[in-house]
């Protein structure tokens, strides 16, 4: 594999594009453009089977734990029935009455019970816990417990629910008046369903009682301190008594942000009662049936366009289904509302959103966190408007996309780091969009005619399938919304140990995205050493400070900033004290002075001027920008959609590690393709029907398109090296690009995700 320095393709001032490496080459320079990007820090272990995920760990004498769950969506719990023919002395059974602390899994508000007390509020809600010394006994015990209940009337439709978790409203300008002036008004209602994160490693926690009366948790998670908080509250433990450690984690995508707290609390309750370690490892069926998913949403959208083709008015209503408990619904809604206008300048915007409770399992975090839902809606609007106006969807976006100095609906002026035009140009160039779209447009009437004919009766046309090209854009506010970071006050540290080893003290987890590789690179660059000389302290709440959760694409941008500052201070201190360059003297310094640790707490770089109540002001420090071009084939006999290729240009501010950043774009893009085409979660009477891997369908290698990731850099001055986050941005864009391509192929608009073969064929048959 040869090393290659990517040539910047723009001026020094403007955004820089990193060309993807040719096949067989490894993209090399990163931070300072001179240091080769290291290979994945824990790569070897993952490739040899040495990496230990939670279920790989052996805890001698451990018992096995399981959860007894409701089968009704809403009911009064009258009691538990335990079959008298079973020897209950061999097992432990716990209910809400046995919880020593608060019966709650704490997230934002404390409405989520660890175990049902009086009222069951969703199918698969945790009612009781069982532990047994071996799996066979556990399986038998589970079968011998039943619930005595009295059904209550459930609510399944968020439009009919009267219980609201959160609501926000944003107004900019005078939309009502602007609609009066609009030459064209395009209106639509868009629906998106649940999406399951489908990390390939199921939820897993092992709880071990400690001599000090506390519990040590080892498990699969994104946010050890969230688990820490929940454990303390439910078991009434002190900070020191609750010790949370992260094992190697097989994927998260947000699904291991909130839910692990429930698994950990359950395992801990049992472990405390049993007096032995308890393993709580979900199987796939339980995981799909009971864990948090992406919020379904209904988005009602009106767009007003002037006679000159300017976007002059937007009115958006967002209704999200939060499920039975609040979890993170307010934050998901907030991001959804703030992104609902799309990456387009508009002077008059009204966005109103609400998140409603239903008697379904609570929904939670999933990559994109509200933005993919509204992203589908705003892009379908633009697509339909372009069609109505008879202009190229790319040209229309080029006209409308934010420029530097633009103002968002919340009133934020985009002072820097705006790359909408750049990602649009990069994606359309790489995908040859303009030429292909033009060719496609020319043959459109024939193609759509044949598709309509194929839809109307049996397909006697010459065409077996139709191809189409689609485009969409997206944006993603980097980091937490508003003052979230300030309120959290994360702390990260860098330590020069007495043993002369440099250690990173962060609670941010490796979940596949590359934390363990990238964070040492950042610190190493500041200290002037090789990344391999920077180790990571174990993710253990008794060792590392709370540097905040591994969510919101904040790790490199925010925590990277903290460790950079800490490392800067450490370097200065050591160099002053021991003389010479840090790289040369640090080991001697450690011998002479012992351990030196520098902690850095978050202080806002830029003035955070965001009003949570009114949702006005600077919502995010900066936004990332993306543009996808998708090519699809639609089978005219069956409506099946084959996504052939997606080109995704993503502005991430600054690429720290090209291979890892590309990996995020590629993975996020495929998840979005799945969201847009085959990942359907059917719900009946509040129960997920697609509750096995055989029925919840994610893309295989044969379904996956060719994905081309183009990394664009519009650096942000408020973060180390200008990075803005890469994990979530790609998730917001591919689905509408695919649906736009379906329209180009066969002339039908799909307004509900996923665009399954059933929906596509029905649209073709109805010939609308």
């Amino acid at each position: 594999m040869s090393d290659r320095v990517p040539e910047p393709r723009a001026t020094a001032e403007g955004p820089v594009v990193l060309a993807p490496p040719a096949p067989g080459e490894v993209a090399v320079p990163t931070l300072g453009r001179a240091v080769p990007a290291p290979l994945r820090r824990e790569g070897r272990e993952k490739l040899t089977g040495e990496a230990k995920y939670t279920d790989d760990l052996v805890f001698p004498g451990a018992w096995y734990g399981a959860t007894i769950r409701s089968t009704e969506a809403r009911a009064r719990l009258l009691g538990l029935e335990q079959d008298p023919d079973f020897d209950w002395s061999k097992v432990v059974v716990m209910t809400a009455a046995d919880i020593p602390g608060d019966n709650v899994i704490s997230v934002i508000i404390d409405d989520w019970p660890a175990l049902v007390e009086d009222e069951i509020q969703h199918v698969s809600q945790a009612v009781a816990l069982v532990a047994a010394p071996d799996k066979a006994t556990l399986r038998e015990a589970k079968k011998r417990i039943s619930l005595r209940t009295e059904p209550l009337p459930p609510v399944f439709d968020p439009l009919e629910s009267e219980h609201q978790f959160a609501a926000y409203e944003i107004t900019k300008g005078d939309p009502a008046a602007a609609f009066e002036d609009a030459a064209i008004v395009v209106q639509g209602e868009y629906r998106v369903g649940h999406q399951e994160q489908l990390y390939i490693e199921n939820q897993a926690m092992i709880a071990e009682p400690r001599p000090d009366g506390g519990i040590t948790i080892t498990g699969s998670m994104q946010c050890p301190y969230y688990v820490h908080s929940a454990l303390k509250q439910a078991l009434g433990l002190s900070d020191e008594q609750a010790v949370i450690t992260q094992a190697e984690t097989g994927g998260g995508f947000g699904g291991k942000e909130d839910y692990p707290s429930a698994v950990a609390v359950h395992a801990a309750l049992l472990a405390q009662r049993v007096g032995k370690p308890v393993r709580m490892i979900y199987d796939r069926h339980e995981d799909i049936a009971s864990t948090t998913k992406r919020h379904p949403a209904i988005v009602r959208y009106r767009s007003g366009i002037s006679g000159h083709g300017r976007l002059i008015a937007q009115d958006v209503e967002v209704i999200m289904d939060g499920g039975a408990f609040c979890t993170l619904s307010p934050v998901v809604l907030s991001r959804g509302v703030l992104h609902a206008g799309g990456p387009y300048e508009c002077e008059n915007v009204h966005i109103k959103g609400r998140s409603m409770a239903t008697n379904t399992p609570p929904n939670g975090a999933f990559r994109g966190f509200g933005a993919p839902q509204v992203g589908f809606a705003h892009e379908m609007q633009v697509a339909r408007i372009a069609h109505e106006l008879g202009v190229s969807p790319a040209k229309l976006r080029e006209r409308w996309v934010y420029r530097e100095g633009g103002t968002t609906p919340s009133g934020q002026v985009l002072r820097e780091s705006v790359a909408g035009l750049e990602v649009l140009r990069e994606a359309t160039t790489a995908a040859d969009y303009d030429d292909i779209y033009e060719l496609s447009r020319q043959t459109r009437s024939v193609r759509w005619g044949q598709a309509a004919e194929a839809g109307a009766g049996f397909n006697s046309t010459r065409m077996r399938s139709a191809s189409g090209i689609g485009i969409a854009m997206g944006w993603h506010g980097a980091g937490f919304t508003g003052s979230g970071e300030q309120r959290m006050g994360s702390t990260a540290g860098v330590e020069l140990g007495a043993d002369g080893v440099i250690r990173l003290l962060i609670a941010n987890t490796e979940i596949g995205q590359g934390t363990n590789t990238v964070m040492p690179m950042i610190v190493a660059e500041v200290l002037g050493v090789e990344p391999a000389e920077v180790e990571l302290a174990p993710i253990d709440t008794s060792i590392v400070p709370n540097s905040g959760p591994t969510v919101a694409s904040r790790t490199v941008m925010v925590v990277g900033g903290l460790v950079s500052k800490a490392a800067t201070k450490l370097r200065a201190l050591v160099e002053e004290r021991s003389g010479g360059t840090f790289a040369d003297v640090y080991r001697a310094d450690a011998e002479a002075h012992g351990a030196t640790r520098i902690d850095q707490q978050y202080e806002s770089e830029v003035e955070v001027a965001f009003d949570d109540e009114t949702h006005t002001g600077d919502a995010y420090p900066a936004f990332g920008w993306a543009c996808d071009v998708a090519v699809v084939d639609v089978d005219l006999d069956t409506g099946e959609v084959r996504v052939r290729s997606v080109v995704s240009a993503d502005d991430v501010g600054r690429v720290i590690h090209p291979l890892l950043a590309e990996g995020q774009v590629e993975g996020g893009t495929l998840q979005a393709v799945g969201y847009g085409t085959i990942e359907e979660m059917k719900v009946q009477d509040g129960r997920y029907l697609n509750d096995r891997l055989a029925t919840y369908i994610i893309p295989t290698s044969m379904d996956a398109p060719d994905i081309t990731a183009i990394l664009v850099e519009a650096p942000f001055s408020g973060s180390p090296h200008g990075a803005k986050g890469v994990g979530e941005l790609p998730m917001n864009v591919a689905a509408p690009a695919v649906v736009d391509a379906i329209h180009d192929a066969v002339g039908v608009w799909i307004t509900e995700l996923p665009a399954t073969a059933e929906r596509v064929l029905a649209a073709m048959e109805s010939d609308e």
Partner: protein
């Protein structure tokens, strides 16, 4: 307390028949269905399992020039690689390529597919469409059951409790053409939403002994006799194809389920048949 099922691996077929005759033995082939069912733990697990995996008498594909005989333990991979199947009933090799992926194809067997009797069983429509014969063996000898009598209800077969499926036979001469199409939930590792087999004897352009068999549109794999009647003795061109497809869509009664909808299945069944007729008819 549930013990793991007792399993016995007989060394030869006679031993297997003797055990089967005792009653209460659940046959195990490649495990791709039974092991999933055991893990899902929804039904009472079997107490005794009869492991057939080593039985040489259930393996191998042979032909006497006219009939092809496929051992019940033939895997999908073996079907895909068999020169006999490729030459004589290529549709069966095509089916095998659509089942699961490599891991399932290496272990799943035609006998397992037939006896599991899932309404979505992928080989079943092809076997039904070529009038396959199932050799059901027991201590009393071999009983032949034609495919059209084999699947008696939802996941139920005509196999007696003391019998094992030994071989699958079908006779196809050069004038018989068999086509197959599966519409799955995705491109690989997919259970079918609709699966259809079309088979006919080309008698100088006229179609005879037409068979149209479908899975995933009823509780069992079925023959669409209405569509067959339209095609029988015809030379399919557009009008005949449309009529046959229309009749097919009307005569089936699919349901909504977790995978797909009744409307889609009804519509796509007709559309796929129409496509196959077009391709075979050459217009």
């Amino acid at each position: 307390m549930t013990a793991e099922p007792l399993v016995v691996s007989p060394a030869n077929l006679d031993e297997a028949f003797a055990l089967r005759a005792e009653g209460g033995w659940r046959p195990l082939a490649g495990g791709t269905d039974l092991m999933v069912q055991l893990e899902a733990d929804v039904a009472e697990p079997p107490e005794r399992v009869l492991d057939l995996w080593r039985l040489a008498e259930l393996k191998g594909i042979s032909t006497d020039g006219y009939e092809v005989s496929v051992g019940a333990l033939t895997t999908y991979t073996e079907l895909r690689h068999s020169p006999i199947i490729s030459a004589r009933l290529h549709a069966l090799a095509e089916v095998a390529a659509t089942v699961g992926a490599a891991q399932i194809q290496n272990r799943g067997t035609i006998g397992g597919n037939v006896c599991n009797a899932s309404p979505a069983g992928d080989t079943l429509p092809v076997l039904l469409a070529v009038d396959a014969i199932f050799e059901c063996g027991s201590t009393e000898g071999i009983r032949e059951v034609p495919a059209r009598e084999f699947w008696t209800g939802y996941r139920q077969t005509a196999l007696r409790d003391d019998e094992l499926l030994v071989r699958v036979r079908f006779a196809v001469d050069r004038s018989r053409h068999t086509r197959f199409r599966k519409v799955g939930t995705r491109a690989a590792q997919a259970i079918s939403k609709v699966v259809i087999a079309l088979s006919y004897k080309d008698d100088h352009g006229t179609w005879r002994n037409v068979r149209v068999a479908l899975g995933s549109v009823a509780a069992t794999t079925i023959r669409a006799t209405g569509a067959e009647a339209v095609l029988e003795g015809s030379r399919p061109r557009q009008a005949v194809a449309e009529e046959a497809a229309r009749v097919l869509a009307e005569e089936i009664a699919p349901i909504d389920d977790v995978r797909s909808s009744a409307d889609y299945r009804r519509s796509v069944s007709g559309r796929i048949l129409h496509r196959l007729l077009r391709e075979e008819g050459g217009w």
